[in-house]
Amino acid sequence: MAILCFVLSSSQNRSAASPVRPPETVPRRTCVHLVAVPVCLIVLGLLCLCSIALGTKSIAPERVLELLWSPDSSEESGIVHQMRVPRTEFGLVVGAALGMAGALMQGLTRNPLADPGLLGVSAGASLGVVLTTGLLGITAPQGYVWFAFAGALAAIALVYALGSAGKGGATPAKLALAGAAVTALLQSLVNAVLLFDAAALGDFRFWVVGSLTGQPAEVLVDVLPFIAVGAVLAAATAPALNSLALGEGVATALGRNVGLVRLRGAAAATLLAGGAVALCGPIAFVGLVIPQLARLLTGPDHRWIMLYSALLGPSLLLAADIAGRLIARPDELHVGIVVTVIGAPFFIALVRRRRLREL
């Protein structure tokens, strides 16, 4: 689907390589968006329908449509309403959250290889999960989702505190280093818990791969407000990222409070990535590949990158999830595995195709 958008908007790819220009002066690009955004929306809508219609169990499409409007007590109705619809909703929310979180992280740290895990989000959430399932014995997803969230928040707070200490405040390089150090620390704690408590493993093993089916639908409703707040904050931060891309000095000269932008961005990324990781585990690559792809489509304007990331993220996640259901019938592959398998070569191609745009 992304390819489709990509083809449609290929006309503006050339300009993506040109120097940074204020987007207002490029009306042609706005026209492209008028086409590309609806196309992305339609593709996403189609993927949602596919996600509900396709699965390891074959149910005729017309039967699925019928069941969608009028559920009955059949097994097929149960599959559609209690399995496929919830996992589609998870895919939409988590995909959008990961895509936006990735775009934020790349913009904030001006690092094209940044992903939501950079600030220790995944490792913090992992520790939260093993601690609850292992030490507290809470294995119900409703129980550990909050600890995963809390772990992510705590980790990112620690990274931010470490990264902003000393001269110059929270610079991208310092944040990345602090993130790497905290991730290593947390990961070793996770391993320690797992080594001592094998019982912690059952749930963790499932969670850490990344799946859209691990949590009951109610949990999504609980976590959704956090992700929504994160999304609003992210959208509000996007224009400031454009100034930040010109360098700290220029951004400050343009009247941006760089420290405040970073703090707000980090808070948004935490809510988005923390919520996504708590819901579906640390799904890799979405947060890394999607903003890159969005940048290919739109050029350097972070407002558009943010929008496309929010649209393409769930598209990738849903497409991967559907593929995972179809290729291993009657078994299923986890979405985390499929995304990585698709994402890795795609990412390599992307890196090889053009020099990564420096941010």
Partner: protein
């Protein structure tokens, strides 16, 4: 993620995780025709008897189920065994000095897998799959190490550690893949006899009689409930598993006792793996669900899946425990059979 894998095996997902390791070996196994040898539980039995020196002194030999002949200058006294064979030997009167494999549950109680073994009289040399505390093992000065196998998979002694462990003492392996419970118990009895136990002792005889009575109870119940179909299943968050009666010695035995066990079409290493959407593929009047406390889902958790909740047996309330952790001994397995007879006796046959 090899880090996560080893303890996962311990956490009760043994059979399923093994499936993966097992699959890697599966091709080789089929090719060498070992599979046939494993299925045939009679093979190699005589050798155990022949080799068992009744006298405690003098040379001792035993041919294990891989056909490996173990020769020692005298009968082994100090045994280190995996939980399952340890429990089996214990009930025949042979008390191992050391154990490896599951011994305690997550909450610190004695694991059902260890059977009647008195943990205060034994030393643990490791609990996780492939975990051997070598110094402890060596300090126990074992004469013989005993474990079981499922096909080519030597239980709890993976290739990585096999050589090291073998240097401490010879390893005797009892095959359990596709071996029905009484055949397995008999084989454990042969090993116990070779080690100096009396398989005809009053205690063993009584246990065997009780076991046979319980088995007759299952047969009678199965006869009374003609047409009752039984599926043996297990569920994790990832998948739904349907057990293959040709692989699991207990399920195979239930089948031999006259129960109509649902056979999955494409089993791999003991189970057909299904997605949760496909969990309703095999219908049965009665479902026996994996009772292991760790790893799998509880009855309540299973209720979250429409394909489980809506399955005929679940709707009819005909779900019972599959006691996968019970070691194959007369003493321990009798209860499983009695429970099964009671469950079958109560079951309705008109569910599907």
């Amino acid at each position: 993620m090899p880090l996560f894998r080893t303890p996962a095996i311990e956490s009760g997902q043994v059979a399923r995780l093994d499936r993966r390791r097992f699959l890697a070996l599966g091709g080789a196994l089929a090719a060498t025709g070992l599979l046939a040898a494993c299925g045939d539980s009679d093979k190699g039995k005589g050798s155990g008897k022949n080799g068992s020196g009744k006298a405690a002194s003098g040379p001792w030999t035993f041919t294990d189920d891989r056909g490996k002949k173990i020769s020692l200058p005298k009968r082994p006294e100090r045994i280190v065994a995996q939980s399952h064979p340890a429990a089996a030997l214990w009930d025949f009167g042979i008390q191992p000095v050391g154990l490896f494999g599951p011994q305690k549950t997550a909450d610190g109680r004695t694991s059902p897998q260890i059977g009647n073994v008195d943990l205060s009289k034994t030393t643990s040399v490791g609990t996780a799959f492939g975990e051997f505390q070598m110094e402890k093992l060596i300090s126990l000065k074992p004469d013989l190490i005993v474990t079981i196998a499922y096909g080519p998979m030597v239980w709890y002694i993976p290739e990585e550690v096999y050589k090291k462990v073998q240097e401490v003492a010879p390893i005797a392996v009892i095959q359990l893949m596709g071996v029905a419970v009484p055949d397995a118990v008999k084989r454990f009895g042969e090993l116990a006899a070779a080690l100096g136990a009396d398989p005809e002792s009053a205690e063993v005889k009584k246990a065997k009689a009780d076991f046979e009575k319980a088995a007759a109870g299952v047969t009678a119940a199965a006869k009374a409930k003609k047409g009752l179909s039984v599926a043996v299943v297990s569920g994790t968050k990832e998948n739904f598993f349907v057990a293959d009666p040709a692989f699991h010695g207990d399920v195979k035995y239930f089948q031999q006792l006259g129960l109509d066990i649902v056979k999955p079409k494409k089993p791999e290493a003991g189970f057909e793996t299904l997605s949760w959407e496909e969990a309703g593929r095999y219908k049965a009047d009665l479902v026996l669900e994996d009772a292991r406390p760790e790893g799998g889902l509880t009855h309540r958790q299973l209720g979250a899946y429409p394909t489980w909740k809506g399955s005929p047996a679940v709707k009819a309330g005909q779900v019972s425990d599959w006691q996968t952790e019970t070691p194959f001994t007369y003493q321990r397995f009798t209860k499983v059979l009695n429970d099964l007879a009671a469950t079958v006796g109560k079951a309705r046959t008109d569910v599907v």
